[in-house]
Symmetry: C3
Subunit: 243 residues, 3 copies
């Protein structure tokens, strides 16, 4: 499965919706037992959430967007498929979110690439369910540092802290991801899926228990005037940088 | 304490029951403050649960067996004694369970030996309380991998991932286990026991809260026709391999 | 902020109270965004709780003291400030507690210094909230060992197990702590504080939910005759050692 929303694979509302639909199709296709998620955009796995969806819109739009992001997370994190991330480019925030949901992560050994949850650097805050997934992956203390400092790790450091499982030369990312997928698919599906559920359901259920309340929290947080102003400034800076 | 159910120390219903009785005796013996658990069967610490107890029997038998396994786990994991595992042979599934309940694990440096929870490889699933204990021991992410892939670790890898605490030459396993026990017994019993409780009670209580329901879940799971068929095939293959 | 209660910075009731008041002042001072906590006593960061506050007093005094210790912990652990520990000396038990609440820990590379929760060595037990914070810092398994054995780690081992983040030459402790603080303060306060809350609130809330009951538990535990006798003996031994 190739993420394709040039130039940087922003997780727009449209992409989130299509992503979930594609996943559901694959889940229901009996010939498909595993999926490699990678990027079609050179040098970028995914630049993460689309800030234009959170800026200058209606509260109803913010709620719709946030619900769609949660929906994608729930589908990926609890997928009955074997999911392997072939991280062939930089992967901040929402891009890192997608990678962390996978069963195995292979990253290209390109010292320019970065991966991490850098929300605080932009003045925003990762939601608790994303924090929970990072704690599950790299532990509580490493999460405290990574999340509060908004750290973006180069590949070798990402491997050391446990954010990815393998770092390989850039031209071997896809092949390595495929052979990792084969290894996971060698396990009887039923036993592997039940075990994945035992591991991940409690984390997902913390969100599911009060999902609507958490969406409302986000809408309140993002709608505030200073937050909107900060996002506007940031988006304008981005535009100027490109120009 | 030597496990003795030749040839491979299967955790039969009888052994589970005797194991718990022996533990209770030791707990009540004021002269005993620590126990080293090891195997009397060359090359095998314990081959784990006895699948013949889960195959072709009545639901009542499955319930009795599963309750006895939980009982052993609860006694070992919450034991007020210092428990040290002297792992002098391969230790899959239920054998690994016994080792993981101990306060300290010493494994023989024999590259043929393996330790791990390989349930998924047999098409079955480790119960959540066994998963919880593994998470407590090696962390969440390493558990996701080890449990879903049903990994059996050779001694050096078991040490790296944290599944054992020490790897020593085979002829020094017992001596190393004894000196580890001595180190733990140097701590005032009362303070050590209360601290062990603070560490482990919350994990045990997740099982205790709904123990009957979890036994029933297991009985339903194991009684299903496809599961029974899979176990039968596996047991027949084992018989042929021996013949 | 320099701890100053010579000769060994015992956390007396008076020091606990003053510590909390100073923290509240700093929290309310808009010019202060980060604090380095260090010791004014050569070779000792803090020797921990003052056992004379727990020995030969009234139950009401034990309750007051324990509440004050919890209060300090809650203030430090949930502080909206960036807190960095400059550990310029040995730091057992309550001293380690103070260090563990910080966002970053720098320890002097002096092989005579030690850090850890050695309560069991004295026949007492670390409370569950202190255990929870240690689990958050070094993981569950390392906590089982460290807490039950009452381990005091020299600097290099403290770094390996994750109890401190940096070990530097003794004359660079303050400078390293300041530059770590600067790094944390480079993050927008609001996002960093909310993220810290997401990480730490659930741990603090386990105490807050039943705080009075936990204080009463402690009073019952410490008031028992054998416990009082053990403390008395220990304090007499300490006196003799000094004389």
């Amino acid at each position: 499965m190739k993420l394709k929303n040039p130039p940087v694979n922003l997780l727009s509302l449209e992409l989130l919706t299509e992503f979930v639909i594609s996943l559901e199709k694959l889940e229901n296709d009996k010939d498909v037992r595993g999926v490699v998620i990678t990027s079609d955009c050179p040098g970028i796995f995914s630049a993460g959430v689309d800030l234009t969806e959170m800026c200058g819109r209606t509260p109803a739009h913010y709620a719709e967007y946030w619900k769609a992001l949660q929906e994608l997370w729930l589908h990926l994190y609890l997928s009955s498929l074997v999911l392997v991330a072939a991280i062939n480019g930089t992967s901040p925030a929402g891009g890192c979110l997608v990678a962390l949901t996978c069963d195995h992560r292979v990253m290209a050994d390109n010292p320019k690439y970065r991966i991490g949850l850098n929300e605080t650097q932009l003045g925003i805050v990762a939601p608790f369910w994303l924090k929970d997934m990072l704690v599950n992956t790299i532990g509580h203390r490493a999460t405290e540092r990574a999340l509060q400092l908004g750290l973006l790790f180069p590949p070798v450091e990402a491997l050391q802290v446990g954010m990815v499982d393998q770092v390989v030369p850039e031209d071997q990312v896809q092949a390595s991801a495929l052979s990792a997928a084969a290894r996971w698919m060698a396990i009887p599906d039923h036993a592997r899926q039940l075990t994945k559920d035992v591991m991940r359901k409690p984390t997902a259920e913390r969100l599911l228990r009060q999902r609507e309340a958490y969406i409302q929290n986000f809408v309140d947080f993002i709608s505030r005037a200073p937050m909107q102003k900060a996002l506007q400034l940031y988006l304008e800076k981005l535009k100027q940088r490109k120009a």
